[in-house]
């Protein structure tokens, strides 16, 4: 479990996060949603420790991130997997080398053991026959799968995804969402996903946190998002006619 308590973060005179608190549960897909510029990515990078927070506290299984010794932080890093918005694959390495990379750098396992584990996750994300290809030779959807495979190859306890299905067609985006949800349940990972894709929200939103202007404006799940009377969430989620109709259909069905 990850807890964020009253997180404040500024860049110069610009305040991005204004006291955000949230809890991310183990074995669930926790979604952070909000408009572009609402502070989602900054919040995610604060949770990861990539940005130092100005005020507040981040707890990983009750242990404060900023109280951890350098050794404990290194250990925590090895328990964290991250899927970046642009995949962030190492473009000078093949798919297989990308997936093997964390184990090569952080473990003392033999090359055979590392390759064996890499092939297990390659199979898990359905990437067979792509292992010798370079990232530039595969599609965007496949790149995301490689990024997911690289993120889970070390058996992480925490998985962070920054807009994992941005730039993907709706079908591939749903496949990626479902893959993340399956992996989360299978390995009982604490998964935190940044997204502004409403399909993802409706599909895998087991816990949803809505950020607005650097503050948490709402919290709930994919069922509660239909019934909420929160004006900000309504304006954001039901900005399209399609989702307005989906909501009406859902509410009518409930009645």
């Amino acid at each position: 479990m990850i807890e964020a308590k009253q997180i404040h973060k500024s860049f110069g005179k610009t305040t991005v996060l204004k006291g955000v608190s949230a809890t991310f549960d183990q074995g669930k897909t926790n979604l952070i949603i909000g408009q572009s510029g609402s502070g989602k990515t900054v919040f995610l990078k604060c949770l990861l420790g990539l940005f130092d927070i100005d005020k507040g506290e981040i707890l990983y299984n009750q242990k404060g991130l900023h109280e951890m010794s350098p050794q404990e932080r290194i250990q925590l890093r090895q328990d964290v997997g991250m899927v970046f918005q642009g995949s962030a694959l190492f473009d000078s390495m093949t798919v297989e080398e990308n997936i093997m990379f964390p184990m090569q750098m952080l473990t003392n396992k033999s090359v055979e053991e590392i390759r064996e584990r890499a092939h297990v996750v390659i199979k898990r994300v359905n990437l067979i026959d792509a292992d010798t290809k370079m990232p530039s030779e595969i599609s965007g959807g496949m790149q995301k799968r490689v990024a997911i495979a690289r993120a889970i190859v070390m058996n992480p306890k925490y998985l962070f995804c920054d807009e994992p299905n941005s730039g993907l067609d709706p079908k591939t985006a749903i496949l990626i969402d479902n893959l993340i949800q399956e992996i989360t349940e299978e390995y009982q990972i604490t998964t935190v996903i940044n997204t502004h894709d409403m399909n993802s929200v409706m599909e895998i939103g087991e816990k949803i946190i809505f950020l607005e202007n650097g503050q948490k404006a709402w919290e709930g799940n994919k069922e509660e998002i239909f019934t909420t009377d929160n004006q900000s969430v309504g304006n954001f989620v039901y900005s399209s006619e399609l989702f307005k109709k989906v909501r009406v259909a859902y509410l009518n069905k409930q009645v």
Partner: protein, 219 residues
């Protein structure tokens, strides 16, 4: 780490030998021809061409001129490769994995560039050889006269001075471009801008360090 260092040696050192050899040979030849064409006084000895070529190549051309060229070739490569990793979040990915990014990205480049004096040695040899070829085959002096000029009033400390400079330039070539790449902010356009800025700053720093080292060691 060993593999990373070997890869960087191949890219930064071995990969630069072609252009350095080409430039050294022809610039050495031009230095010799320019010297020959400016020797109008018949009382000047013909071995002066070998002497002037040796002094120009060892003292300035090989260590300084080649380093400025390398600031363009190697420096731009370092800035753009690290900068691209920054804008595509590859450096963030390394940090999330718990990998020391300075150690992984910059340290191997610094170690690889410790072999830079090897490149300058080749530049010195080919520069003088280019001068020899231009003088002898261009009919400006005989082979014996040029070789006599190369050996004339040779001061071994000049070679030491040259390699002290080279070593300092190697550190500049590794660190300044790495800094500009690592702390890059923005997108693809900014990678190009950072490469240009890195080349300018590396060149300026090389010229200033060259002046200071010359002032300290040769006066």
């Amino acid at each position: 780490m060993k593999n990373l260092i070997l890869t960087e040696i191949e890219t930064l050192i071995v990969g630069s030998l072609g252009i350095v050899s080409f430039i050294s040979f022809f610039v050495g030849g031009v230095v010799a021809i320019q010297t020959a064409l400016n020797m109008e006084n018949p009382l000047l000895p013909r071995n002066l061409m070998g002497f002037a070529t040796r002094q120009s190549v060892i003292l300035e051309f090989a260590p300084t001129f080649i380093s400025v060229i390398m600031a363009g070739k190697v420096g731009s490569y370092i800035t753009s490769s690290i900068g691209t990793m920054r804008v595509t979040e590859q450096i963030d990915a390394l940090e999330v994995m718990g990998i020391n990014t300075y150690n992984y990205l910059i340290f191997p480049k610094i170690i690889a560039l410790l072999f830079y004096p090897f490149v300058i040695t080749i530049a010195m040899f080919l520069g003088i050889f280019g001068g020899y070829t231009a003088c002898v085959y261009g009919g400006f002096s005989s082979s014996a006269e040029f070789i006599e000029g190369i050996q004339l009033d040779f001061i071994p400390f000049h070679v030491t001075y040259s390699f002290v400079k080279t070593f300092l330039f190697a550190l500049l070539l590794a660190t300044i471009p790495s800094y500009h790449g690592f702390y890059l902010r923005g997108g693809a356009l900014d990678v190009g801008k950072a490469s240009t800025t890195s080349f300018v700053w590396t060149s300026v720093t090389i010229i200033i360090v060259n002046y200071i080292v010359t002032q300290i060691l040769l006066t």
